[in-house]
């Protein structure tokens, strides 16, 4: 077993010339590194908690923000991130099987399981790239209203509510209208140019976009990413139509409109920290996965070449295994705090 639980007396154990922990120097240092890295992630997640706890505005709900699947329309709350979690857990399992194969000096087993771990790592990185791109791209965009008003809004079941919007309430466009408006806005910002240098050919199509000054949405969505309750009723994703939608549109705070997310603006929440924490924490974790995959590839090549066979033991697999499991461990916590709670 990995623990080398041989029986030694206390005097022998602490008498020098051996590790009192019965682990090699490299493995102990990997553990110490992981403790310090865990403190970094712990600090990040705690900072997220502080900001979220101290926020006076509604915080976006994970299952309403993350509900898309690649290539599909409709709402699949948390399904994609559950898939990512599953991929990472499975790649953790293949890694621990590689460690087990190493303890039996089974070179073929190590190469197979470590190879599968690397593939799992690539799958996770790819998923995260899609997740980021979806988060950055957004779905429809939102803006703030700059005056209080009362509008009629309907839920899925057809119940109508009179909703009072405060000054500064964050509302959302439908994804169809939002994307059209975003393109028209970009086209309006950059003048149409058939420049001879080439490379800007896409602006030539700008003529086909509508004039943004005449664009008016037919529907506005309230509480798209946040959850409000009134008299025990669930008031998420209420739709405002017709004249009320126009009224909200007319009360748009200039310059407040945001599509998707970047480091300055985001459509998901009034709090920019929401997007920044998402980028930083999942990005930092993704960077760990990325470097883990690189290290795994190096060790895999060494295993294929028979370096560990010659060395007489496969402890290196155990050490990189520790790092890889740690990455999985961090994701378990990121999953809970960013997506579930």
């Amino acid at each position: 077993m990995a623990g080398q639980a041989e029986h030694v007396t206390k005097d022998e154990l602490w008498g020098g010339n051996r590790s009192p922990f019965s682990v090699s120097y490299g493995k102990m240092m990997m553990w110490f590194f992981l403790v310090s890295d865990a403190l970094t992630f712990g600090g990040l997640l705690t900072a997220y908690g502080v900001i979220r706890h101290g926020s006076s505005d509604l915080w976006p709900v994970g299952e309403q923000v993350f509900e898309a699947l690649p290539g599909l329309h409709g709402s699949y709350p948390l399904m994609y991130v559950a898939l990512m979690t599953f991929i990472l857990i499975i790649s953790s399992v293949t890694m621990v099987l590689a460690v087990e194969a190493g303890h039996r000096m089974d070179k073929k087993g190590v190469v197979k399981w470590l190879g599968l771990t690397i593939i799992g790592g690539f799958f996770f990185l790819g998923s995260q790239a899609w997740e980021w791109s979806h988060f950055i791209h957004g779905s429809g965009g939102g803006f703030q209203v700059n005056q209080p008003m009362t509008v009629a809004a309907a839920d899925d079941a057809g119940n109508t509510y009179q909703i009072t919007l405060d000054n500064g309430t964050w509302v959302h466009m439908t994804s169809d209208f939002g994307h059209k408006y975003e393109h028209a806005m970009e086209a309006a910002e950059e003048p149409i140019s058939h420049d001879a240098h080439g490379g800007h050919g896409e602006h030539a199509t700008a003529e086909t976009h509508e004039d943004i000054s005449t664009m008016v949405p037919e529907e506005i969505i309230l509480n798209k990413y946040t959850l409000e309750h009134k008299d025990g009723k669930d008031l998420r994703k209420l739709v405002v139509k017709g004249d009320d939608a126009k009224k909200i549109w007319a009360a748009m705070e200039p310059g407040s409109m945001a599509f998707g997310a970047n480091m300055h603006k985001n459509e998901y929440a009034i709090q920019q920290q929401y997007a920044n924490f998402f980028f930083f924490v999942t990005g930092f974790h993704g960077f760990h996965v990325f470097s883990g995959v690189l290290i795994n590839i190096i060790i895999w090549l060494m295993a294929v070449k028979g370096v560990f066979e010659k060395r007489g033991h496969y402890e290196m697999i155990e050490k990189i295994g520790l790092y890889w499991h740690f990455v999985d461990l961090v994701w378990v916590f990121v999953f809970t705090f960013f997506y579930l709670i």
């Binding site: 077993m1 623990g3 080398q4 639980a5 041989e6 590790s19 009192p20 922990f21 019965s22 682990v23 090699s24 120097y25 493995k27 102990m28 553990w31 992981l34 403790v35 865990a38 403190l39 712990g42 705690t46 908690g49 502080v50 979220r52 706890h53 101290g54 926020s55 994970g62 299952e63 948390l78 559950a82 979690t85 599953f86 857990i89 953790s92 399992v93 621990v96 099987l97 460690v99 087990e100 303890h103 039996r104 959850l227 025990g232 669930d234 007489g312 033991h313 402890e315 155990e318 295994g321 499991h325 740690f326 999985d328 461990l329 378990v332 916590f333 999953f335 809970t336 579930l340 709670i341």
Partner: protein, 125 residues
Amino acid sequence: MERDDLIVNESYALNAKHDEAAGKQIRKKLYAVTVLLTVITIVEVFMGVAFKRNGTFTWEAIKLTFLVLTLVKAAYIVLIFMHLGDERKNLKYVVLLPYALFIMYLIFIGLYEGVSVQEGHNIFG
């Protein structure tokens, strides 16, 4: 001069080996843990979708359940996958105790601070 502060022999790594029979046992345990982690994740996602966050007691209980399930998952990953459960007791304590103490302190400070910021918002707008 020869250094005497290095532990040169690789006996720790060499001792870690086991035979095919023991490997079978270990793999059985690993598969069981895999199933457990998968089931917990599915339950978590189901709970996240099914229950609405509405500040009621139910949601608070669900939130607490998420934390407990997360810690259970973390414990299985650390103790079984990372083999910390098979290491010597003193290594376990050296890794877990400082971390647990520091992080509990950090969470306490953080939430305390967050709550008072929130109160400030409520009072001063």
